[in-house]
Every structure is written in C-alpha cells, then in structure tokens.
C-alpha cells in the first residue's frame, strides 16, 4: 500500500487485518461500493423528484417561464418532428406498396401505414429526435448554470432553482410531447397518403379505407400515453443530468452525452413496457 493511503478516521486500517480477511475485504468492498452507488443514484433522483413536487407550489415562479419553455421545446421542435414524420410516413407507405403481391387489396397500405405511425413510429421517433434536440439543450443549459454557479446564485437570492429551471421544462416537455406527436401522426399519415397516391397505383379511396379499417380511438390514446411518458422521461432525465453536472465544460459535455443516452434507452424501455401492458387493449 502506498504512502498516500489514509484510512478513514475511526476505521481500522486494512493492513492491520490478517491476510485471509484482507483478501475477502478486497473482494467484497467493491461490491458494497457499487451497490451503495447504485442506490445512491436512485435516491438522488428521488430527492430531485421530491424537490420538483415541492417546487410545484411556487406557481408564480414557474408559470411564466413554462410558456417560454413550451415555445422552445414544443413549437420550435415542430419543423424537425414534422420533417421526420413526413419522411417516415412517406417511406412506410411507399415500402408497403412495394411489398404487396397480386391479390392483396391496396387498402392494406393505408392500414399498415396508420398502424405503424400511430402505434409506434410517430411517438417513438418524435421522442428520440427530441431527446437529441430538446434534451441535450436542456442538460447543457442547466449544466452550464450549475458549473458557472448560477444555480448557487439563485439559491442565494432565495429563488428555488428547481422551480425556476426544472419545473417549467418538465411541464413543457410533458405537455408538448403529446401535441407534437399528434402533429407528427397527422403529418406522417398525410405524407404517406400523398406519396402513394402520387407515386403508385394506390388510389386515395383505398388509402382512406385502409386508414379507417379496424380503427379504434384507443390507438390514438395509446400513442398519447406513450408520448406523455416519453416527454416526461426526456425532461426529467435531462434536467436532472444538467442539475448534477460537475467540473467545468468537460462535465457539461459528459452530462449532455449521458442525458441523451439515458433518455434514449429509457424511451425504448418505456416503449416496450407500454406495448407489453397496453397492446392487448389495442385489438378492436
């Protein structure tokens, strides 16, 4: 053991133990530390959630800022979400048309496009794209405020930094994602319809017949439930990662990357879980 090793005060130095005990300690101590770190992560997030719920009381602080965040998160993301949805819808419809073989009626194109876009592609891809566009921005903003000690300054001025920075973003993400998803669904379905009607022999009446085939409103609710969950996870994860940023510009970069990765994975997990629990209710 090097000279730089100082045992914690009140703890018996490891070197004082017999060899067989030292081997066991060197085996179990990392496990204990990892476990503790894992639960510390969860606990830290729970504290963050508690802070958010407490900050929800300070309506005067966050409501004006929420409108701004809604614009930044929601309205400003519409072009990106729209472009993604339009291309996804067009390609889905077009590809489906080319998979048909003689004997299948063309309305299946509309049906497959609608099911794919409403149930999966529009919510998931909008969320993934927004995890990059909105989530990274959120983490970088809050993280920079953290490393430049602006958050500490807010606390000093008796502002609740969570109510000031986090709650507007969470509310905006929670409300804007479903609306963006609705727009994405509409744009995707319309773009798919225009593509197949213009470029292939599928007629508009085939497409709309397929769109209505086996449709139940719960399919839209399902998409909105997913979008709400995705928006919530994006804004919570990204603002948390920004909020705990440490050590300068490098820390901001690391937090941003982590935030995007974690929120993307969580979005995919939530997607799978919602499919697992809610998909059986989708059958008409």
């Amino acid at each position: 053991m090097s000279a730089a090793y100082y045992p914690e005060p009140g703890r018996r130095p490891t070197g004082n133990f017999p060899v067989h005990q030292r081997i066991a300690m060197s085996f179990f101590r990392p496990i204990g530390r990892w476990t503790a770190a894992f639960f510390a992560q969860i606990g830290s997030r729970v504290y963050f959630l508690v802070d958010i719920f407490r900050a929800l009381g300070e309506v005067r602080t966050y409501v004006p800022l929420t409108i701004t965040q809604m614009r930044k998160i929601g309205v400003d993301s519409l072009p990106l979400a729209g472009i993604v949805a339009a291309f996804i819808g067009a390609v889905t419809a077009f590809q489906t048309t080319y998979q048909l073989f003689p004997g299948i009626q063309f309305s299946i194109v509309g049906w497959i496009t609608r099911q794919s876009i409403i149930l999966e592609l529009a919510p998931l891809l909008t969320a993934l794209v927004l995890a990059g566009r909105v989530g990274a921005r959120m983490t970088a903003e809050i993280g920079t405020m953290r490393v430049t000690e602006q958050i500490d300054a807010l606390e000093t001025l008796a502002y609740d930094p969570v109510a000031y920075l986090v709650v507007p973003r969470v509310i905006a993400g929670l409300t804007m994602m479903p609306l963006l998803t609705i727009m994405a669904i509409a744009i995707g379905i319309v773009a798919g319809g225009i593509t197949v009607v213009v470029a292939t022999e599928v007629r508009a009446i085939d497409y709309t017949t397929g769109l209505r085939l086996t449709f139940i409103p719960f399919q839209v609710y399902y998409a909105l439930i997913k979008a709400t969950l995705f928006g919530m996870s994006i804004s919570l994860i990204c603002s948390y990662e920004g909020y705990i940023t440490e050590t300068g510009a490098e820390g901001v970069g690391r937090s941003t990357a982590r935030a995007v990765v974690i929120s993307s994975v969580v979005i995919l997990l939530l997607d799978a879980l919602t499919a697992l629990f809610l998909a059986p209710k989708l059958a008409p």
């Binding site: 004006p64 409108i67 701004t68 809604m70 614009r71 929601g74 309205v75 519409l78 004997g103 299948i104 009626q105 299946i108 609608r114 409300t175 609306l179 963006l180 609705i182 727009m183 669904i185 509409a186 017949t209 769109l211 209505r212 085939l213 086996t214 449709f215 139940i216 409103p217 839209v220 909105l224 008409p284």
Partner: protein
C-alpha cells in the same frame, strides 16, 4: 417577446388539439357525417372487425361499428350506415370476402336471395327490365334505423375452398405414397433404371450394326456401280431384244393354250349334258346297274366254277 411566446404556444396547442380530436373522429367515424345504427347477426368465425366496409349492392354505405360475441353461437354486429342511405326492406346481409387474404366486408343484397315477386312488377319496372335488364327489383319500403337486417346465404368462403384443397392434397399424398412404395421400396425405379440401361445398350448395339451394315452397303453399291459400268450397252440391247422375242412366243403359246382349253371346255360340256358315248357312260345310271348285275352274276358263276369245276371244265387227256 413573452407575449409573442404566449401567442405562438397558444396557436400551436390549439392546432394540435384540433388535429388530434378531428383526426381521431375522421378515422373513427368517416368524418363527421351523420349515421344511424343497424344490426345484423352472423355465425361465429366470420372474421369481422370494426371498420370493415358495409356495401349495399357493392357501394359502400357504412362500416362495421361494433362486433359483440354472443355466447349462443352468434356475432351481434352493429353497422353504422350513412344517414342519407336507406336499406330496402327485403335486403339480406352476408359476410363476403374482400381479396384473398381473409379480409371481409358486410354485403347487403337489396332484394335478398329470392327474385322479386310478380305482384311487385310495376309497368315502369317492366320497361326498365325490357330496356336494361339490370333492374332487378324496385324497393318500395325501407328498413327503419335500428332494425336488424336478416342474414342471407353466404357465398363459399376461402376457408371452405382451402378445406377442399386440403382433402385434395390428402388424396394426392396417398397417390404419392403409393407411387413411392411401388417405385422406391419395391424396386420399381431400379427395374426402370435397368431397363433403360439395357435399352441404351441395345441402341448402341443397333447403332454399331447399322454402321457396319452401312459400310457393307456402300461397298455393295460401289461394286454394283462397277458392274453396271462394266456391262456393255450393246449386249444389253440384244438381251432385251431376245427377251422381247421370248415374250412374243410366250404370248402365242398362251393364245393357243387358250383355244385348247376352250375346246376342252366344249368336250366337257358335252360330257355333262350326257350326249355321246362318254356322256351316256357317265350320266346314265342304267349302265351302272347293268354292269352291277353282270358283275354279280359273274361272281356267282365264278363261285360255282370254284365249287364244281368239273361241271364246266372237263379235261380229258385220254
């Protein structure tokens, strides 16, 4: 800036909500057009789904709104019909196939399965029938909203056809099995193969023989050609002349033979008719009888001579 944000966010939220609400309604309810419910009852297993088309005489007039499983063996189906469409009184509902792959629609036949009764044939309808021939019936009464449309006779479904194909494939399998047993397990294929092999050998043999034969034939032909060349045309000519002479002699002989045979014919005819000595001899039974009697007498005379030779022969030497 803040005011502007509020306006933009408000506009976006409003548009998105409107798109969501009206889009869902458009998908679920054929737009906001009014409709009324009708009911039908089908057997289980018709593969009906919400949103499938309802066709009246082939024209879409609504869609399947609800499919409920009735435990007593039926599907209670709610049909949503466009408000401006009416269903004729004698219409029947049938689940029919759309395409090959199990998609269905509910088809309403305006006149049911039976032809329209004669009492309902009106003059103008008769005219229409005479003109176009397609006007089947002229519904005078319509079902009112909420009625149950009676179920008609269904066309054979893909399932039934597939079942038939299935049994056919079973029979085919039997045939294949039999062929397999006789051909593979009982050595039919081996026999066939042997036969083919020996046929092949035979053909080769034949080819070989034919080749030899043709070689010999060509040799023969060559020698024949040589002989023909060696033959003198003059001697050939004289031979031909001799043959002509011989032929003429033969012809003369034949004619004299003919005359001889004609004469012989004449003689034979005379003999047959019984003229002359020969004819009498041959044709008169009296001669035969006389001859017979004479023979009998000669016989008895000879027997007598044998028995008493001394009576007739008296040899005296001294």
């Amino acid at each position: 800036m803040k005011r502007r944000d509020e306006v933009i966010v408000g506009v976006f939220v409003t548009i998105a909500l409107l798109v969501g609400v009206f889009g869902t309604l458009w998908l679920a309810r054929r737009g906001l057009s009014k409709s009324y419910p009708m009911y039908a009852r089908f057997d289980w297993g018709n593969n009906l789904k919400v949103g499938q088309q309802v066709l009246l005489a082939g024209v879409q007039i609504g869609f399947v709104d609800k499919v409920e499983l009735n435990p007593s063996g039926y599907l209670d189906v709610t049909l949503s019909i466009d408000k401006d469409r009416k269903i004729p009184e004698r219409a029947t509902a049938v689940v029919q196939n759309e395409g090959f792959f199990g998609d269905k629609s509910v088809a309403l036949h305006p006149c049911g399965d039976a032809p329209p009764p004669a009492a309902q044939v009106t003059p103008e309808m008769g005219a229409a029938r005479a003109g176009g021939g397609e006007a089947h019936c002229h519904p005078s009464a319509f079902l009112s909203p909420g009625d149950t449309i009676p179920t008609g006779k269904a066309a054979p479904s893909i399932d039934m056809i597939l079942g038939r194909v299935d049994s056919m494939s079973g029979a085919l399998e039997d045939v294949v099995q039999t062929v397999r047993i006789s051909m593979v397990e009982n050595g039919g294929i081996d026999d066939l193969r042997k036969t083919i092999a020996s046929t092949n050998e035979l053909a080769q043999e034949l080819t070989r023989v034919a080749a030899e034969q043709s070689k010999g034939l060509s040799l023969t032909l060559a020698s024949l050609r040589r002989t023909a060349n060696a033959l003198d045309s003059a001697s050939l000519d004289s031979t031909v002349q001799n043959m002509q002479v011989a032929t003429e002699n033969l012809a003369a002989l034949t004619s004299s033979l003919q005359s001889t045979s004609a004469r012989l014919d004449n003689v034979m005819a005379k003999v047959e008719t019984g003229d002359g000595t020969m004819g009498r001899l041959l044709n008169d039974p009296g001669v035969y009888n006389e001859l017979r009697k004479s023979l009998a007498r000669l016989d008895s005379l000879l027997a007598d001579v044998k028995a008493n030779p001394k009576r007739y022969i008296n040899v005296k030497v001294f």
